[in-house]
Chain length 563, copies 2
Amino acid sequence: MDSFLIAFQAQVLYDFTAEPGNNELTVREGETVTITNQSIGGGWIEAQNSKGQVGLVPEDYIEVRFSDSDTADVLQHTQYFISNNYNNNISSLCVLQASNGNDPWSVWNADSSGGFNNNWASNPEGTPADPWGSLDEWDDEWDDMKSTGGYAESESGESGAIQRGGTSMKISLNKFPGFSKSGPELYLLCKQLPKEKEKLTIYMGEVGPVWSYPDTQLDCVVADPKKGSKMYGLKSYIEYQITASTTNRPVNHRYKHFDWLYERLLDKFGSAIPIPSLPDKQVTGRFEEEFIKMRMERLQGWMTRMCRHPIISSSEVFQLFLTYKDEKDWKTGKRKAEKDETVGVMIFSTIEPEAPDLDPLDVEKKCEQFSRFTKAMDDSVKEILTVGQEHWKRCTGPLPKEYQRIGKAFQNMSTVFTSSGYQGESTLTDALTAAGKTYEEIAQLVAEQPKKDLHFLMETNNEYKGLLGCFPDTIAVHKAAIEKVKEGDKLVGTNKITAQEKGTMAKRLSTMSYALQAEMNHFHNNRIYDYNRVMQLYLEEQVTFYETIAAKLRQAHSQFTTM
Amino acid sequence: MDSFLIAFQAQVLYDFTAEPGNNELTVREGETVTITNQSIGGGWIEAQNSKGQVGLVPEDYIEVRFSDSDTADVLQHTQYFISNNYNNNISSLCVLQASNGNDPWSVWNADSSGGFNNNWASNPEGTPADPWGSLDEWDDEWDDMKSTGGYAESESGESGAIQRGGTSMKISLNKFPGFSKSGPELYLLCKQLPKEKEKLTIYMGEVGPVWSYPDTQLDCVVADPKKGSKMYGLKSYIEYQITASTTNRPVNHRYKHFDWLYERLLDKFGSAIPIPSLPDKQVTGRFEEEFIKMRMERLQGWMTRMCRHPIISSSEVFQLFLTYKDEKDWKTGKRKAEKDETVGVMIFSTIEPEAPDLDPLDVEKKCEQFSRFTKAMDDSVKEILTVGQEHWKRCTGPLPKEYQRIGKAFQNMSTVFTSSGYQGESTLTDALTAAGKTYEEIAQLVAEQPKKDLHFLMETNNEYKGLLGCFPDTIAVHKAAIEKVKEGDKLVGTNKITAQEKGTMAKRLSTMSYALQAEMNHFHNNRIYDYNRVMQLYLEEQVTFYETIAAKLRQAHSQFTTM
């Protein structure tokens, strides 16, 4: 990406006042700046104002502008830049925070798709069987369009969106500014932890540390997508109905609300719990209906995963999203959630393990183990996705075409035989026609099968790819904390901290480790269920598929005779 | 082929005395001539002797020589030339004879493979699953090798063979000189038909004119290929055991004996009955065993087809081949068969239809119908061969590789999950391993399936391709006869023939037509049986294939659990 060094002109969207000593740059709404360094990471961008002053500005606060004629040319590059840079940002953030930080899983940086935004089933030939469009398709033309610079509310939804029809592109890629500004020190060395009303208890279960699970698991249904419009019908969007199992009363939400929820969960829990990205905007269908169906299915998957998580599902913000009573209730709750200060690493301050403190060495061992496992699983998931994608292509492309040709060849032979003028030909010609049609039916079955089985195997692995993509960040916070604690003696020696503070640090690291272990156990538990379930579904459909073909062929076979 | 005009030096193998007025050239054994025109057709080649005299010489009588160093370069071209020229010869022959002759089925001329010598299952990557080698593999190195020019006997076997190890190549491509030298006039205008002991009767059956079928159908088994050697072990060959159902006593024959039989049958019956080529020499296996197995299978197929034919199976030469008592019996029979004068169109003189004479217009109509049908079936057969070949490649190439990768991906995931350190993992990991192994087994099944079903579908169609390739010649003889009879009035008017001879011609044309109809009905009857049978076999194996996979997957499915 080093070769991509276009100096963008950007417009400042909101006032930002620099904090002294942080290399930041104060900017005012409406001001134009030149971006001088995009690869700062951590949600920051280096910009130069008209006076020549250079400093860091939050990415969220600026908007790059193109002239109409430039847009098309640059868009493609930029898009690639964005998706790459997003990962670089997160990675470099982690590297900066972990004092012994080595590039966590460098393979992920090379992979432009972070969460759900891998286009695994894209088919260059674009057969109708392919429910995923190409990379450059965006849905913003008809869903959740925004006017240039028109951020009336401080909603951070729709970040990273590129308006195809318009001339504006907002670079807003750092999803968790709270997280980015605070290393684990903030928690480890905090003099006085805030008194939290709600405590997140960790118990010792059969498998080790576990979160406190509710008696009844929350569930919800995402359904009934409806097209709505605003601005006198000029702009349209899709609204989904979400019904929680606890209330059985539907609430409406647009994609941008899901995105808002995601941002809040990431802010609040991201340091302790991997929050998978929302289904990506890039996943679009060739047709509106297909797209809506696919997005809804993935939003459902995301919501189900959130509902299954004991901490997330019982959080105030998640409950608000699922059960708000009216518009006023929603707005009030939103404002409150946005003001929540227990975000980033401070989430650990609310965690109370009911178990003896762990030795830092054990903490490190555990952390290393999780790191190795999630990395290995990530590789394995990607292997399945690659293999599955190839298989999908073959099943929807050359293979059915071949069965079709076999079917046609048999039917053509039947037609030729019919013209023989020989008596007693009809049994054979009827049988040949039937056999030919059977192979045409098999072609159809083959082409439609991936949607029935491979689809779910791919979706599950895709979801896990997104989830596993969050672990390096979560684990990096822990590694940074471990390093900090390792420095403890030195810090005491140089009077940076007291011996008591060193003890507190070790204790808090233990708490962090319990949280990570509880989360890993939650992950393992879900993983075992998810993979059992998706493999059952896959193999069940595969069995039906092969049995259906066998039955059809048996029927075709019965028509031939050699009496 | 016009661009391929290398002037070959050729050695004369046998004395040949020119017939006056025929543009022929008298040559003597051992003489060297220069080939000046290879595209004469009809088994003739234009050559120039050392005195500068130019004339036609039978292709059979000369042998082209290369120096060792030239051989490799020229061989490939020559091979192509030969296979093309063979068809050209036959076609041009027919065109010459049929006075209104248009190029019968020009597509066949473009196709270099006449009979069995299409390498339909050749796989450029040469996977072990491919039982057919590449085009330039010849078996002569170890089977039926001949020394340069060393034709001690007048055996015409091994025609068209190119000796790879040696420096000699014999152009001997006109398989039926008797046929080539006599148009249908020889029979139509013959003053006095020879008195034949044996008559071939044609009856009117339910389907129209039919040959006289024996009560019991002859059958034979080709088995037990054994390596023999001659010239003190310097040259080796394979001897097959052929056992006729009538004698149940095995006789031994080498491939060259089959070839001799083929030549005799072609000489004698070729004008009335399509005699399919022997399995081609070019069909070789990668390994000796594979090759022998394949050749034996095809020789069996050829013999079975001959046994099924009422005229061929009861002919003296075929009975000799199957039931000769000892070497002396064989040699005597051979000599007698080679002296048989009822060859070419004269075979019609032995045919006695027990039905009223046909009107020449009806004869023409029938002939046209057969021509259309066999052409259409030829196209259809070729379509199946093309589609089948592609399917074969996919089933033995990319498809099993893909299933293998799916299997490996599941097993890799199982390995990763095993490393989780989480309790209660083993049920899932065992199930994943089993599922992975199942897909590896499926890969194996897929790769091996074509040998079990597609193979026979291909072989049958390949056989029919060879058989259909003989029809243009047979039909061309009839068309030439029809044209001759049409000229009847003009010939009477110019006193070329008498009115009585004209009547005889029409009557003999009727006999020819009955023979063609009987042969077509024989063909249809066999075709219906063969295609019913091969489709039954194919579909039966396909059903088993899909059911086996379904059962394996069902077993794999049962190991997953979501209790």
